[in-house]
Amino acid sequence: MKYVVCLKQTPDTTELPKITPEQALAGNEGATLVLNPWDEYAVEEGIRLKERFGGETVALSMGPESVDQALRSALAMGCDRAVRLWDPSFADSDYWSTALILARGIEKDGGADIIVTGKMSVDGNAAAVAHGIACKLGIPLLTQVARVVDVSDGRITVERLLDEGRETVTAPLPVVISVVKEINEPRYPTFIRIRKASRTPIPVLSAADLNIAPEEVGQAAARVRWTHLVKPEPKKRQVTIIEGDTPEEKARKLLDYLMDVEKVL
């Protein structure tokens, strides 16, 4: 079995409020870059799949050299290998082109039985790349995966987290799954793994390696254009915390507050 985790490097969410729309548009956020928090769950699940069902887990990302840091985080957590896809022509690729590049990368690396992605990225928030990869590879996609129940006989059974509850579905391999944070608790790397990860070379595949023409990717092929970016006003709300020793006491105080102060009841 082979599992490929597709991951992205994103600004640290604690620094997102500092980023201006101009910086975001220029793709130069000036923030600390980390492994996309949603993708940590994907990396963890990729490693757990290997631990449960055997095989190899590969971390894959499209991006410039700085992205090696995110890939090394994935190696330190327990991925066996990492591959980076980069070419100057890849810059400014939209979701669709990114999906194309990742799909070609997976093919070039010999394919995969299960491709794992996070739910979305904290900067783009599109939740579109997993769909694109499945589409490009012509294989099924299972989104909102909260538990991998089983992998056997060329099939995967998962639980999907829906608004109404959980749904158990089965699909043939190969498959793309995008996972939600309920699926696991990502591990912290140990120092020994960190040391190993920091010394593992990360090969880079270029546009030529992936047989991708310049007009297929980057700004040239982008179907999504960011023309206008605004920052939402920070929400200014007054918060009152109701204190009390028992739930009953708190409820009584809340009721008083709603009736006497807010006069909504």
């Binding site: 985080s73 330190a76 912290y188 140990t190 120092f191 960190i194 920091s198 010394r199």
Partner: protein, 381 residues
């Protein structure tokens, strides 16, 4: 000359930073307010190997270098002073003494449990009548009786004594006195006669328990002597040299956190029609804080580097400890000043940091003792 962290150190720092943000800092206020011991974080650190970070791999440690230790304690200090001090006393004092001076048999016996955090350790030097002046002050004695040492006396401020399985004690073995009359002993804390008092009531660091310990005919086998008989003072000073790099890093972490909190507050708070950060007087404060933090970090890294190169580092470690701990006091004070009245409130973390930072220029050698160490080296080198 290379000022950037290696890939290994950067990845380690980011990992520890993430760990502290999630597992350590959110608990810091609760620990301070209740005085609870930070068991959660300490257990998790054990699982990750952080409690045996620079213990050699052969004894179950991670075999990391001193720079990694400095990085660990800066990050822990930034999250929670109490948690950091517990780990520091365990790893850089009690465990380090066994790593540095243990026989092969002692290392095999004690280090795997200590490195994995299954057991905690501490180091007992200070006594009711001995702190800076150990040579003349130590009254606790160990005398031979058959196959055993019999230890009598009292220790003060022994951090981790109530939670550790083993402590290393500095005791008098030579009645003639002088610098060659003290020895280090490994003492299991469940030995009859080893009585631990309640955690001392302190200004800060409420989750790092320090205790008075009385030793009443505590018997340990002869083989529990650590290192050489009557060479305990020299051994202790060598352990403290390394420990000072860690305590300096811990102080640096507190300073960094307080500075970051002050900077953020200064961005948000408006007076006289503009944010605090735009007042030059506040910018000057921030400039002083950031500059001293930067200087302290460079001195800590250099002392760590010298130690890892196997070069003498006593003076540099003392200088780093002096600068970093005084910086922590300065920065936490200024951070409160920038917060104004709110800085004096328990609602804001800087209030806790100020109290936690205060120990750093006292423990493991006071500021005055650091200057004596540096001065002595300057005039004799």
């Amino acid at each position: 000359m290379e000022f950037a962290l290696s890939e290994e150190h950067r990845l380690f720092r980011d990992t520890v930073r993430g760990f502290v943000a999630k597992e350590v800092r959110p608990r810091a206020r609760h620990i301070d307010e209740t005085g609870e011991f930070p068991w959660d974080a300490i257990r998790k650190m054990g699982e990750l190997g952080l409690l045996g970070l620079d213990v050699p791999e052969a004894y179950g440690g991670m075999g990391a270098d001193t720079l990694s230790v400095a990085i660990l304690f800066e990050e822990l200090g930034a999250g929670c002073g109490s948690t950091a001090l517990v780990a520091e006393a365990h790893l850089c004092l009690g465990t380090a003494a066994i790593v540095m001076f243990g026989s092969e048999a002692q290392k095999q016996r004690y280090l795997p449990a200590l490195a994995s955090g299954q057991s905690l350790a501490g180091l007992g030097l200070t006594e009711p009548g001995a702190g800076s002046d150990l040579v003349h002050g130590i009254r606790t004695t160990a005398r031979r009786d058959g196959n055993e040492w019999v230890i009598n006396g009292a220790k003060m401020w022994l951090t981790n004594a109530g939670v550790a399985d083993y402590v290393v004690l500095l005791v008098r073995t030579g009645p003639e006195g002088g610098s060659r009359s003290l020895s280090q002993m490994i003492v299991p804390t469940d030995t009859p006669g080893f009585e631990v008092g309640p955690p001392e009531k302190k200004m800060g660091l409420h989750g790092a328990w320090s205790h008075a310990v009385s030793l009443d005919n505590v018997r340990v086998p002869l083989e529990n002597l650590l290192g050489e008989e009557n060479m305990g003072l020299h051994q202790t000073l060598q352990v403290l040299d390394g420990g000072r790099i860690a305590i300096a890093a811990l102080a640096l972490g507190i300073a960094r956190s307080a500075y970051e909190a002050a900077l953020q507050y200064a961005r948000e708070r408006t007076t006289f029609g503009k944010p605090l950060v735009e007042h030059q007087a506040i910018q000057f404060k921030l400039a002083d804080m950031a500059t001293r933090i930067e200087a302290a970090r460079l001195m800590i890294y250099r002392a760590a580097w010298l130690k890892d190169q196997g070069q003498p580092f006593t003076k540099e470690a003392a200088m780093a400890k002096l600068v970093a701990t005084e910086t922590a006091e300065f920065v936490t004070r200024e951070a409160i000043q920038i917060h104004g009245g709110y800085g004096y409130s328990r609602e804001y973390e800087v209030e806790r940091m100020y109290r936690d930072a205060r120990l750093m220029s006292i423990g493991e050698g006071t500021t005055e003792i650091m200057k004596m160490v540096i001065g002595k080296r300057l005039v004799t080198e």
